[in-house]
């Protein structure tokens, strides 16, 4: 058996040599931030089209906007960015922004009012999915050049009617409000696409960073923009690597090969808590977990049944077991920290009360189908609901599928019940009020698939008008009060049971400071980070 011995010896030697030859990496360089994250949701980097979490993270660091949030003081709300100041006309319909002088794009081109107006016009003309954030102000591809225009050093935005100024400005802080370098983008225009194809994988902004490369499902690399008006960020390079598995992210963090791990599950968070050199951050995000019932269903549309369902959810049990640290009970459609948010959570698991409500509605032996995506936490929630519903005699049949499969049925009003999540699109209360409690046409023909109220065939019991009134209210305090009232009514009457608000737990090396993920209202900011 000499050949076998020889081969074995060779292989063993090879292993030994290779393994001793590779020193382990102990620490990332002081001017580079390395992050592990799931970035397979990025489909484009064009701010007029980008609408996913990981894409928004890139966009926030690459594109400046007219107004923006200060990551070190998110509570202050929007403040000046490329626009130094603004004034509002007496009729409340026109906002005039004065541009900051001397700001340059990464290309070296000056940032002009013309670039800003063109970027917003472009987003409306391209009419991609997030365009509704702007078109809700009455802009159309036909009129947008009149409604948003540059005049010298000012950008003038005129809306079709009076809206709360805070509503308009909040919307401009969304990804779609990113200001592009018109000259650079138009150099790459193909077939009249206004540079859309090129911008999917490249950047042309004036923010703190520039996109160096995006390899789908692999990594995104950013380098500091030498022309950024805010100075040079401490992290000259930021590399976000796609790492799917929580356990793998944890290993990388413990070994010091990455600085930040963004998708650690509760057991890995518990595993790194208290480990030397590692810190854990908890940050409240905007995502809500909810369940809702279809109002086309003859039984589920009874008010008592809708109420009963809210008493058949074990909020506390879930929050303290499998959702521990990742979600906190929240029963209102505005995430905590939003204007008008309330923290009243009147419902708790009460099977007896639910039984009474069901009996008063004359409901017996109810069997319903609930659609849920095959994501672990959602499945666990669904199973908990299945269990507590059964205690009141409701049989819950779960249909599990991919996100796309379940959504397609939800959007076509085909599910009895949906268990899922909703994240706000822009940091204004209308983003959620306008979908949970607003449904001007409940007919099938309306096909308002973007509205959650429509998907559940709920006519909102008069809340639509109240939401429409709140969005035009100029007085900030009064506006907040209006949303609080809407939510109180919503909690009692709606077919939605809002259950939890997301907490993002991040593991980081403890030398990484000032990392702000953006709270409930925006995305991550890399420029204040130091090591």
């Amino acid at each position: 058996m000499k050949p076998f011995k020889n081969i074995m010896a060779g292989v063993v030697m090879g292993f030994a040599v290779s393994m001793t030859a590779v020193p382990a990496v102990a620490e990332t360089p002081a001017n580079v931030l390395v992050i592990a994250n799931r970035i397979d949701d990025i489909t484009t980097l064009d701010p007029a089209e980008s609408f996913e979490f990981a894409g928004s993270d890139v966009s926030r660091n690459v594109y400046s906007k007219l107004v923006n949030f200060d990551p070190m003081n998110l509570d202050a709300g929007y403040g000046p960015d490329l626009a130094e100041s603004w004034t509002v006309s007496d009729d409340g319909k026109t906002i005039t922004f004065t541009m900051r002088e001397g700001v340059k794009f990464a290309s070296g081109n000056p940032v002009r009012a013309e670039d800003a107006a063109w970027s917003l016009q472009r987003a409306v003309i391209l009419n991609k999915t997030p365009s509704f954030i702007l078109t809700q102000f009455g802009f159309t591809p036909e009129n947008v050049k009149d409604m948003i225009r540059a005049d010298g050093n000012t950008v003038i935005i005129t809306t079709d009617k009076r809206y709360a100024t805070s509503f308009v400005l909040n919307c401009l802080t969304a990804t779609i409000g990113g200001i592009l370098d018109k000259e650079v983008v138009m150099q790459h225009e193909a077939d009249g696409d206004m540079g859309n194809a090129w911008l999917k994988t490249n950047s042309a902004g004036s923010g703190a960073y520039v996109v160096t490369s995006w390899k789908p499902n692999e990594s995104v690399s950013l380098t500091a923009n030498p022309n950024w008006y805010g100075g040079t960020p401490a992290m000259e390079r930021v590399i976000v690597r796609h790492v799917q598995e929580s356990a793998t992210q944890r290993l990388l963090l413990e070994r010091g090969d990455i600085d930040v791990a963004r998708n650690l599950n509760p057991s890995d968070i518990a595993g790194i808590t208290g480990v030397d050199g590692i810190a854990v951050d908890n940050e409240l995000r905007g995502r809500l977990m909810y369940t809702s019932v279809n109002q086309k269903h003859p039984v589920l549309s009874k008010p008592e049944v809708r109420q009963a369902i809210k008493y058949l959810i074990d909020y506390e049990g879930m929050q303290n077991s499998f959702l521990k640290g990742q979600y906190v009970t929240h029963q209102n459609f505005l995430p905590a920290t939003y204007l008008g948010a309330v923290d009243e959570n009147p419902f708790s698991l009460n099977v007896e009360k639910a039984k009474e409500l069901l009996a008063s509605a004359g409901v017996e032996n109810l069997e319903i189908e609930a659609g849920v995506r095959e994501a672990q936490e959602r499945l666990e929630i669904a199973q908990s609901l299945q269990n507590t519903f059964a205690q009141a005699g409701i049989k819950l049949n779960l249909t599990v599928g991919t996100g796309k499969q379940i959504l397609a049925r939800y959007r076509s009003r085909d599910l009895d019940m949906y268990i899922g999540a909703w994240g706000p699109d822009y940091p204004d209360p209308h983003t959620n009020a306008g979908t949970f409690a607003y449904n001007p046409d409940n007919s099938d023909e309306a096909q308002a698939t973007g509205l959650l109220a429509w998907r559940n065939a709920w006519d909102t019991d008069g809340l639509t008008e109240k939401v429409a009134a709140a969005v035009v209210e100029g007085d900030r305090d009064k506006r907040a009060q209006m949303y609080q009232e809407i939510q109180a009514e919503f909690r009692e009457k709606s077919p939605f049971a809002i259950m939890f608000q997301r907490i993002e737990q991040t593991g980081r090396r403890d030398n990484v400071q000032n990392l702000n993920l953006g709270g409930a209202i925006t995305s991550v900011s890399y420029w204040p980070v130091t090591k």
Binding site: A21, D40, Q244
Partner: protein, 353 residues
Amino acid sequence: MAIAENKTVGRRTPPPFLRGLITAAKTVGSVAITMLGLMFVTFLIGRVMPVDPVLAVVGERASKEIYQATYEAMGLDKPLLVQFAYYLWDVLHGDFGMSLLNARPVSEDIKRVFPATLELATLGTLIGVLLGVPLGVTAAVRRGTWIDQIARFVALIGYSMPIFWLGLIGLLIFYGILGWVGGPGRLGIFYEDLVPVRTGMILVDSAIDGNWSVFRNAFSHIILPASILGYYSMAYISRMTRSFMLEQLSAEYITTARVKGLPERTVIWRHAFGNIKVQLITVIALSYANLLEGAVLTETIFSWPGIGSYITTALLSADMAAVLGGTIVVGLIFVLINIFSDLLYKFFDPRAK
């Protein structure tokens, strides 16, 4: 006899070059039909799946108008056969279409992800063959001894242990605790983009470029996932080798060889092993082809951007252009490996000539 002679004349064997040509034409024909069938079935499955590709592009919050415009832009309003014909035409021109999700040509994506899988699968198979074949032969020759028991135990573990578990434990021990190997991914972050892409296989590219620090780093990253895949491959190959060898060793010609006083090494390696080569080729080719499909779980654990995780991600996101492109490449590889192993048969087995 005269009749028989006439028959022979009537069926005169064509000259060798013509025979070669006919065989080649038959092979090409069968490959083409197989690929066409594969493409049609995959295409059909993609279209009847309850997944909405339009939703994948526009997102769940798109308005009805945006949805409709995208639906038409993707050609989904045309009859199924017309869609397939368009697709076929594009594929024949080397165009697998655009990935719905990242708006890049699928062919470019495949060029990026397939070499990663090829590199991993090749190294994994090499490890599997280099360890599995000698182990299987030894186990058969020393049947019932401790080495046979070990071989069987190793194979059993290989069959019964989930690969993701072994991958995670491997990472924990060799990367997390001992720090002997590089972590997940194909390269350390700071070694990326240092060598020009020629083949897409980093070990090969860095060797061509003479950049040995990149080579070493790439090797430290690939060795663990390759060893884990190699282990599974070894478990399969050693078990099959053992059983093939046992069959040969009990044959009469082996007894005859031994009676004739041939050295044991010659009896085993030349006579017995010589006769199982053809069967082994099938086993190894199958094992290699399996790894080339992309080991999805291993790729996920090790953040290895290969074709397995590419197709899986595409499938979950309803990116049918990417799924089709990936499936065609995997199918083609399967067919090519089959042809290659047929050629090897002819080389090793005189009866097949």
